[in-house]
Symmetry: C2
Subunit: 575 residues, 2 copies
């Protein structure tokens, strides 16, 4: 049974399916969502209007036994950036889709009726139903309610109240197998889901034959080598498992690249209190889980289960970027308060990076003082309630900057800049500036080479080599994001040649094809160019590839400034 | 004594003056502000940051005896559109500047100290002072306070609380000789003044010799012909004097081009209650002034003094666009309520067109119901108080659309579309789409030819001839906006050849030069191109020259749609 495309038209509430056209056959995940958005969405359309489409696609390796292949991609024109957007997250949905033989779900149109809908996806296809019970509910309740009704194996994609309000920082939640929540976080795709009034999608892969493998023997052999590489690399096999991504707090603080007090400084006095080491000990002392996978088949286990003092679940998927944003950037040195924030954001359905950066801007604007953890929690509740203040905050950092008339607003393409100061880690600044996704560390994670010395070392404080580094990583990432693999496989495949070969072999064995390393680079370049061209057609220019002017000011401890010329930045696209 | 340029640096609080460079000598008003902004402001800068400049310039004929020459231009990079901006308004300031020999005031930098400042401009130059008394006060109080202190002849430019908050719909007020307020309205230049913390500027032209005229005899003769043309034309000499610009309510309603209920319909059932005829009778019955000039030397007298039922002053400069926005667009058919709104907006310092369009969007979002006049006044008070809701509203129509996740938002380049439906008056749609100023009817007022049959007739419902019409008017307007003349002189100079010649003769006689009609077209084109190029350098593309997608839907009574192709719109720039 060949893979299918499902089209859900929310205007006339009809579902159709079709064969995968030849040119989309070798694409999955981001490669597929970006290609479809570029081909089918009018670049100048209103992101919340009838011409935008919301696209969900598992990766090329999703649903297989390949380690760490459980990422689901979502794509659309972004309500936050106005450009093309792809996010990916763990959870069970990607594997569920793949096992159902669904290569992509394309949702278009807008319903006329003022009600919510749900999509039920199973072996019989896709069914649209009116949803009268769960509108207005938080994601935790949606997941609990549906899991109770439909069983533990169900895949769930849902939006919270912030998506319902169509605010530009709204995210989309994906259920993990243990009822926790992972997020299709950035770029406000939850608002697109809200505009289409789809409260949730359930994916039931019961009674499906599983994903066909063209060369099972080759696949199995490559899979072993790949998993071994993941386990052996010091980053993917050690640090991340023990301390989660939050291991980066102390590392970035030491490097002077931990943005502090709305990007004023590169070091945070309270770093120890929010570090991965502290998180590890806190979790261990409260019977939480130090290591946890966000999807079946994850061997890196960078997630965790973080309990409160009474050993009651608080949050999981508690990431460095979130902890940095509310911690160093907002000067809150209390991990429990940040964990509460993380839980609340997952529940109301709002991107934790955008929201953390936004709170830093809200503190800059004087709405609450820097360091005010309880005030911060109050602001998050305002977002969930949709008060006027909550609506400003729920539209992200740039919206707060405008409503309060301030200029120290760390965004690129209107999207909040994540957890690495671009002045003292210059490679990531190039990624922020040039990525078609807006400021996004995952698009080309130069921290690997600038800080962690994966794939060699490029001095983070010097301009030399950064553009090439960011370009190579953005190209490679565009491919990895198409496989369904977690981005952290990049560490071992960069450093361990056999790991890279094994990844390519698995894709080839899955489809009976013979991609080479060159083909992969070619595909990565093609995806990046497709995204860039969409943005240009939407009205972006090289002026959108710039950091805010306050990065001209030096940042301690290195007195580093953002000193790339426009010509240097623009040379990124020479490939 | 040759004219001078004054530069006010708000970073180091220093004032310098310099001679006018050769290339700026033939420029005034908009021609000068746009040239300076284009030459001196970094196009990609933050509009509220240190790199933006706020420029005030009287027109080429300001301060002379020429009729209707009292308009003052202000220019900057706009916080609302992100592009170049010029506004002009009446009041006494333009003539005051001209008589002081000040060709332009260029304000740059940002003060570090958290306090307001004032600028005192007189025969001794410009003095910067800290202002501790009037911060937070409304424009009416500022004008009253300063007039009491400094006398009736003083020119005053001030910003209200909305400018202090640096919100994107903030305007700048200019005192009239009778203590009323005229507005440099559109594009949020009040927020730029707020960023530079200048609460007000006083201009005292005592003991100045007046404006030198190179050929007084020729000037006087031409002035007479010009004034006669203004008086004789049926629009400038009749309709406007009797009914104000509000005469257009019935005319546009009849034409089916009066945008109603947030641009849903082209006719408003309550049009009679808000018409110019009704306003005339209301004013007459309450001992107001049916006719009134916004500046000395105005012979058109389209302004008025509108009193309440107790014959107490409510507002003046009560324009059609304001009355349309709060009236038809918000479905409020009570002229007294709209007059209250007008007074309040002048006082807090917010653009009445942007704000009216914004209220329509706020009603669309369900914040208050359509037609709710008291609710509307409540929202305006929120803006003045700077509540979170007020801050959203004070950032204009597009900001409300974003905070409430709605798509029916009538803006171009983020600026609210004024009082003429672009589907049923297609020429003005081309002006909205292409003007470097964002949606702005004054930039190329095709209503003249589409509706009023001035300068011939181009059928408003057909595409033919609209691009040329808008182009010719935008070019001519760029010149008129440079003279200090009110845009309404366009009616007689289009229809009465001697009026046009007289205008050119006055400029020539003032400076001892010999401009031809061709030179004027050339200058108009040059100004438009300069503005367009600034926007392109700021990151605009032809995608910014588009109307919102909801204008694809037909509007009654003509079932007209916006049907220009992208190529047709882009051909505007072929000159």
């Amino acid at each position: 049974m060949p893979d299918k495309i499902y089209r859900i038209n929310m205007t006339d509430l009809k579902v159709t399916n079709e064969e995968v056209p030849e040119q989309w056959k070798g694409l999955g995940g981001r490669g597929l969502t970006s290609t479809i958005v570029a081909q089918e969405v009018k670049p100048t359309c209103h992101p919340l209007g009838k011409y935008n489409k919301l696209v969900f696609a598992p990766g090329l390796l999703s649903g297989t036994t390949c380690a760490n292949s459980g990422r689901l991609s979502a794509g659309a024109k972004s309500p936050l950036t106005g450009g093309i957007k792809e996010c990916n997250a763990g959870g069970t949905a990607a594997a569920n889709f793949a096992r159902l033989g669904i290569k992509v779900l394309i949702i278009d149109g807008l319903p006329e009726k003022d009600t919510f809908y749900s999509l039920k996806v199973d072996k019989n296809g896709v069914t649209i139903k009116e949803e009268t019970e769960l509108g207005g509910k938080g994601n935790y309740e949606v997941v609990k309610n549906l899991t109770e009704k439909l069983g533990k194996k169900i895949g769930i994609i849902s939006m919270g109240p912030v998506g319902e309000m169509r605010l530009a920082a709204a995210n989309i939640s994906v259920r993990t197998r243990d009822d926790y929540i992972r997020s299709l976080g950035r770029g406000g795709l939850g608002a697109v889901m809200g505009s289409k009034k789809i409260k949730y999608i359930t994916i039931d892969d019961s009674d499906t034959p599983g994903v066909p493998i063209a060369d099972p023997k080759k696949f199995k052999a490559a899979g072993k080598i790949f998993a071994k590489a993941l386990a052996e690399h010091p980053v993917s096999g050690g640090a991340l498992k023990n301390y989660g991504t939050d291991v980066l707090v102390n590392i970035l603080n030491e490097a002077g690249g931990l943005p502090t007090k709305n990007f004023r400084y590169g070091k945070f006095a309270g770093h120890e209190k929010i570090s991965g080491e502290t998180m590890h000990d806190t979790i261990a002392g409260r019977s939480g889980k130090v290591s946890h996978g966000c999807h079946t088949g994850c061997v890196i286990q960078c997630s965790q289960v973080y309990n409160d003092k009474d050993q009651k679940y608080m949050t999981s998927g508690f990431e460095y970027e979130t902890i940095w944003a509310f911690g160093a950037d907002c000067c809150i040195d209390d991990l429990d308060v940040i964990a509460q924030a993380d839980h609340l954001m997952d529940d109301i359905g709002v991107d934790s990076i955008e929201t953390g950066v936004m709170i830093g801007v809200a503190m800059e604007a004087g709405i609450i003082p820097f360091g005010d953890g309880q005030g911060m929690l109050g602001l998050l509740k305002e977002i969930g309630s949709g008060t006027p203040l909550g609506r400003i905050l729920g539209c992200g950092a740039a919206a707060v900057g405008k409503a309060y008339g301030i200029t120290r607003v760390p965004v690129v393409k209107n999207q909040g800049i994540p957890a690495y100061d671009p002045r003292s880690v210059k490679g990531i600044g190039i990624t922020y500036a040039t990525s078609p996704m807006g400021a996004d560390h995952t698009a080309g994670y130069t921290i690997a080479t600038n800080i962690l010395k994966v794939g060699g070392f490029v001095d983070p404080l010097k301009k030399e080599g950064q553009i090439e580094l960011s370009r190579n990583l953005q190209i490679a990432t565009a491919f990895i994001d198409s496989t369904g693999l977690c981005i952290f496989v990049a560490f071992p495949i960069i450093d361990i040649p056999a790991g890279f070969t094994a990844m390519v072999d698995m894709v080839n064995a899955r489809f009976g094809i013979s991609l080479t390393a060159d083909d992969i680079t070619k595909l990565g370049k093609q995806i990046l160019r497709t995204e860039h061209e969409f943005n240009l057609a939407a009205g972006f220019t090289n002026k959108n590839d710039r950091l805010p002017e306050f990065f001209e000011d030096p940042v301690l401890p290195h007195n580093a400034v953002w000193d790339f010329t426009d010509e240097e930045i623009d040379s990124f696209w020479n490939f």
